[in-house]
């Protein structure tokens, strides 16, 4: 298992280099000079300040030289400094990261926690009214973009019903007790989590339904039940047989969650990476945009890696093919 993981890890290195190069190219070679844009928008900075900025951004050097020095700094873990407040990009990102992780984790839990039972109900009684209504609901949820859902939910729950906070991550000051603050955070999490989970939820529920249906009709189940297997044990077999598609879906959900975070965090003023990204794009804070673009790609790469390793964990057949019978797991 370890050696497979290491080999798989090593195979991502060329992609990693390509990702770094692509991110750098996108934000450096295209015809918009951040310095010129700034000068055009606000008060023109002094020639001295422009010179210093040019030096800092190395826009006076060739692109290749810039990539080399940027790459070398990247290997040392140095992503440069934010153009807005001069802080290191790493610490700006580290400040926002936990909020995004919290939100995405909640969304992931919500997606799987709701979609799997939903799929089970649909698969257990195909064609029933509940199943048909569920299908319609899923289509609607699939076709409702997260930002539309965000504004609709804000209108309904925060403004009309006034039972949940409109935006932000915390409404209490630091003097409140830990329980009260936890409850407050949970209340702030509800709407963003629902929006972020929305598209992934309908996606997984549809797959869950068809996956469960294909397993429920299989002969081995009726044989096992006829031989006296308990209902509970039978369900365990069903779940074990549908685990692989759920793992595959994870590889598609994580990129969409990362993309969805941009919009949902912006809509709810959630102090995470997504809001930071949008604000940095608006403020043309290129070092931060570059660092975050890279981070997003790394997350996707990591998710793909995780999916490959999970395959081994959930499916003994794949384990055997990849690791042989030696049992080096």
């Amino acid at each position: 298992m370890t050696s497979f993981a290491l080999r798989r890890l090593a195979s991502t290195v060329p992609t990693l280099v390509g990702v770094a190069l692509a991110a750098f190219l996108i934000l450096n070679l295209l015809p918009s000079d951040p310095l010129l844009t700034w000068s055009a928008e606000g008060a023109a900075p002094s020639a001295e300040a422009l010179e210093r900025l040019r030096h800092e951004l190395r826009s006076d050097e060739g692109p290749l030289a810039r990539f080399a020095s940027w790459g070398a700094a990247l290997l040392r873990g140095d992503l440069g400094r934010s153009l807005v407040d001069g802080r290191p990009v790493g610490s700006v990102v580290a400040e926002a990261l936990p909020w995004t992780l919290l939100l995405n984790l909640c969304a992931l839990l919500a997606i799987y926690g709701l979609a799997v039972p939903f799929g089970l109900v649909g698969a257990a009684s195909p064609g029933s009214i509940a199943d048909r209504l569920g299908g319609m609901l899923l289509l609607i949820l699939y076709a409702l973009p997260s930002f539309a859902a965000a504004v609709l939910l804000q209108e309904a729950f925060a403004v009309r019903l006034a039972i949940l906070p409109l935006q932000g991550a915390a409404g209490l000051d630091s003097g409140a007790g830990i329980a009260a603050r936890g409850l407050d955070l949970a209340r702030h999490l509800v709407l963003p989590t629902a929006c972020l989970a929305l598209s992934g939820w309908s996606f997984v529920a549809r797959y869950a339904r068809s996956a469960f249906r294909s397993v429920l009709g299989r002969e081995f189940l009726s044989v096992a039940r006829a031989k006296g297997m308990s209902r509970l044990r039978a369900w365990r077999h069903v779940l074990a047989n549908t685990a692989v598609p759920f793992v595959t879906l994870l590889g598609g959900i994580i990129p969409s969650l990362v993309g969805g975070s941009l919009i949902v965090e912006h809509a709810f003023s959630w102090p995470g990476l997504g809001r930071l990204y949008v604000a940095s794009v608006e403020g043309r804070d290129y070092p931060v945009v570059l660092g975050l673009t890279l981070l997003a790609a790394l997350l996707v790469l990591a998710a793909n890696l995780l999916v490959d390793l999970l395959y081994l964990a959930v499916d003994p057949r794949i384990r055997d093919t990849f690791l042989g019978e030696r049992g080096d797991a």
Partner: protein, 324 residues
């Protein structure tokens, strides 16, 4: 991609009709919603001022006589014979009309600046559909071209293209589209088409490459080759018809995804430039008046829901042929 089920062929046909109707609304927006009348008489001449806003055909109806009049208030000497179905401009600010509820003169109400919501919704279909279809066509062309040349040429080119697709697929599509749109500069339609198109070509390229490689090993390829078909003929006459239906499905879902991206970018303020409305911009504007009005939130959401739902259902039509 989700598969819809239980929907009848009739439902799917209705979905296709809805998509076509939306395209027509987008195309005819200057006629459907305009402060300019459809037909007016001025100094003894008949004018069709609203038709001047049409794409391509517009110049036929345009002229100094049309442009010299302020159609919001044409004054004496001009008889308005026939007004547009929604007789409001999508950008005419009238603060005294702000946030009127639906009904009365404004069927869907007005926004915080007193602009007619229905007129803005109608004009909002244009960037959404333009970017949706434009970016998808770009992605299909780019992906098809790269995927087929990778599979047909093989060797280093294949390796290079596959590696590029691997790298591109690492960026979440929306992040890539946002970064590209930002890097391409000012907000607008063209950067969005390029950004969204470039972020979505990889799945097409992979699919086309995989299918061609699969077919290359089969009898079809060998017999076509044996009878002297060139590579170009093979691709255009034999592969394209085989790949067209699945690519149509990918395309229909792609349009839906691209519309979500376009309205998302516009929602973030990085899409179309104001005062041009897009469904995403309308929702972003509605956030400012959440406590005062519900209609600026509900109607653009409904429009998005309708368009995207119809596109998803229409995609199913290509997937499985109608059965009746």
């Amino acid at each position: 991609m989700p598969e819809a089920r239980g929907e009848s062929p009739r439902g799917r046909r209705a979905a296709v009709g809805l998509v076509l109707a939306l395209a027509a609304v987008g195309l005819l927006a200057p006629v459907l919603a305009s402060e300019r009348p459809l037909l007016a008489r001025r100094e003894g001449r008949l004018l069709c001022p609203a038709l001047a806003g049409l794409p391509l055909l517009g110049s036929l109806f345009d002229g100094p006589a049309v442009r010299s009049v302020d159609w919001e208030d044409p004054g004496p000497g001009t008889d308005v014979l026939l007004r547009a179905p929604v007789p409001y401009s999508y950008r005419g600010v009238r603060l005294d009309e702000a946030l009127r509820p639906p009904g009365g003169g404004h069927h869907l109400g007005t926004d915080a600046l007193g602009r007619d919501l229905l007129a803005r919704l109608i004009h909002g279909t244009r960037p959404s559909l333009l970017v949706g279809f434009g970016a998808t066509v770009a992605a299909l062309l780019l992906g098809g071209l790269l995927g087929s040349s990778a599979a047909l040429r093989g060797g280093m080119l294949d390796l290079l293209i596959v590696r590029c697709a691997d790298v591109a697929a690492c960026f979440p599509p929306f992040v890539l589209a946002l970064a590209l749109t930002a890097a391409l500069g000012h907000p607008g339609i063209a950067p969005m088409v390029a950004g969204i198109g470039l972020s979505r070509w990889t799945s097409v390229a992979r699919y086309v490459r995989g299918e061609i490689l699969r077919l290359k090993g089969g009898d079809l390829w060998a017999s076509a080759r044996a009878s002297g078909a060139s590579s170009r003929r093979l691709v255009l006459r034999h592969l394209l018809p085989l790949l067209a239906p699945p690519l149509a499905v990918m395309g229909a879902f792609g349009v839906a995804q691209a519309i979500i991206m376009e309205s998302g970018l516009s929602f973030l303020g990085l899409g179309v430039a104001p005062p041009t409305p897009s469904w995403g911009t309308l929702l972003a504007e509605a956030r400012g008046t959440l406590d005062a009005a519900w209609w600026p939130v509900v109607f653009p959401s409904a429009a998005l829901l309708l368009a995207l739902g119809a596109l998803c259902l229409a995609a199913e039509l290509f997937e499985t042929p109608a059965r009746d």
